[in-house]
Symmetry: C2
Subunit: 166 residues, 2 copies
């Protein structure tokens, strides 16, 4: 597979390439980084008998305590129907339990079991460990720049989509 930062001959020749050439390159690089990170995360998770999203879930629950299914979905950038399946399998494996809220019986609290808590304590990183390592290797200035740029991107995306969360 091509390194994501390589240049094609057409771009080298052209002084001012197409408008979106750098945009395409940035996208390609981000997709590469993201998918590669997910792949490695999955690999690490498997060493604990878990999947990627399951690791994310138990670390979120470890940090925030029991959450409703909707809140947990929001934290993981997943839909409720996706989260239902993840919770099902984690419940099947004895990692979490569903607790009906007594104040609002529509709500299901997802809580770690003892087994789940013990497992969470063994896993040092939340998710995307590879990406996180790479980010840590950046110097302070780069991280500040990246944070600034991502904030602008988020604002733009929020504006385009109209919805938001958190």
């Amino acid at each position: 597979m091509r390194s994501a930062t390589e240049r094609t001959e057409a771009e080298e020749r052209d002084a001012t390439p197409r408008e979106g050439a750098d945009v395409d390159r940035i996208l390609e690089t981000l997709v590469y980084l993201y998918t590669e990170s997910r792949r490695v995360t999955k690999e690490v998770a498997r060493q604990h008998g878990l999947t990627g999203p399951q690791v994310t879930a138990i670390k979120v629950l470890e940090n925030f305590g029991a959450l409703s299914l909707t809140d947990l979905s929001a934290r993981m950038s997943a839909t409720n129907s996706t989260m239902t399946g993840i919770a099902d399998r984690m419940e099947r494996d004895g990692l979490v339990e569903r607790i009906r809220s007594e104040t609002d019986r529509r709500v299901v609290q997802i809580a770690l079991t003892e087994k789940g808590r013990a497992l969470a304590a063994q896993i040092p990183v939340a998710s995307m460990a590879l990406f996180a390592d790479a980010l840590r290797s950046l110097d302070e200035g780069d991280r500040r720049d990246l944070t600034r740029i991502l904030r602008r991107l988020t604002d733009k995306v929020t504006e385009l989509v109209g919805t938001n969360g958190d």
Copy 2:
């Protein structure tokens, strides 16, 4: 191989709140941007009766001509087994056809049909349109910074994973 996660001890000694706080924030933002973009891309694709990966596939095939399944997989950052399923559904819908290579009968060339080519011509963007729009809204300096930072991240990731050069 020595892992880069050994710097957690340095973090604990550090007086500042927590070294990884901004890293976590950056990761969270990237995940948000990526998943949101994928969601919107899927939505756009559906208006043409396609899925997200299918749009990516026909635009890649439009640009590069018929590709072997392995080459197409690499272009899309997917595994061969994933690509097989995507090709199956696209073949079922008459968008592509499989052509056995005559020089190497192990190889299957994936080629656009007339219908597929016509559809590809109607779709202006390759993928991740939302993300691309947001990137275009950045000024020149930000894009240059982002490109530089992403190159460093890619180099670091490649170093951590091990070079799987093309």
